[in-house]
Symmetry: C2
Subunit: 152 residues, 2 copies
DNA sequence: ATTGCTGCAAAACGTTTGCACCTAT
DNA sequence: ATAGGTGCAAACGTTTTGCAGCAAT
């Protein structure tokens, strides 16, 4: 187990929800926390497979869902119709700017953004659950950008 | 043609981009503008099919993309891995609150939200292209809500 | 005449499901 | 012993693509 504290949180979450404690689940937890940045469920499955893990695709998908439910991971959607996850363990909350020229995902925090979901939901008579705020933008020096990719 | 002004905008956009002017494309435009609310490409295809249109699924998908490019429609993503569209013709810009209990999509406008993408992008050294701001919330009187659906 | 657009069906893609077997409780 | 989790492959829903024929330029 790579991360004792996260492992403990997950174990407690599983126990409280009458879910079973299995080695596969902790294998997924470890791989997910180790992953640097945002990843799709399949990305993680492939990575684990390459590292000779024998955990199945179905288990990876289901476990990531559990990890998002207990907030060790966050679920993200960047408008390309696939679910991405990122570690939420000991991380401050943030939003994303997605560069449409080079594909970079830049994280930022802005105090004004954080207040708004609560404020607006209250106004409309709802209880906030979560929100997503994505900015789609372009880097000015397109050709110089190290991530620059020619559009197809 | 149901909407002369939108038709003209689309015609001009097609011409300027060396795209051909075809009846199918205007059929999709009409159906899309007539659609009340947010719809998936397939929703529109099925609707048109039921109304005895003979436009193909492929054409619907491709035309909606064109209509989003010329900003007669807006592309939306509400975190369920499917692209939705809505009319942007003569509509003020707005954001969305998605109710996780009943599925309603509530539109709202907030002046503070509108300034932020520009402001934040500039700070990070990018040019804004667009943004998406979705609030996921719950209606308080779940059982009473007319849209209430038991979770599966 | 050319080239882009169309309809159709097939493929692609990320994701979920059904099932027989296995394992944590 | 039991119910819940697992791996596998097949199914799913949305979207894209390849291609032969068609129609706008």
């Amino acid at each position: 187990m790579k991360n004792k504290q996260a492992t403990e949180i997950f174990r407690k979450y599983l126990k409280d929800g009458m879910n079973r404690i299995t080695p596969e689940r902790f294998e997924v937890l470890d791989a997910a926390l180790e992953y640097n940045g945002h990843f799709g469920a399949d990305d993680l499955f492939i990575l684990m497979k390459n590292q000779k893990s024998r955990v199945s695709r179905a288990t990876v998908y289901k476990t990531l869902e559990l990890l998002a439910q207990c907030e060790l991971l966050l679920k993200r959607n960047f408008g390309d119709n696939m679910t991405r996850y990122e570690s939420n363990f000991k991380k401050q909350s943030h939003d994303h700017l997605i560069c449409m020229d080079c594909g970079r995902i830049v994280e930022f925090t802005n105090p004004k953004v954080k207040e708004l979901p609560e404020e607006i939901s209250k106004e409309l008579g709802f209880d906030v659950e979560s929100y997503s705020f994505n900015i789609f933008a372009r880097c000015q020096n397109t050709k110089k950008c190290k991530y620059f990719k020619e559009k197809k």
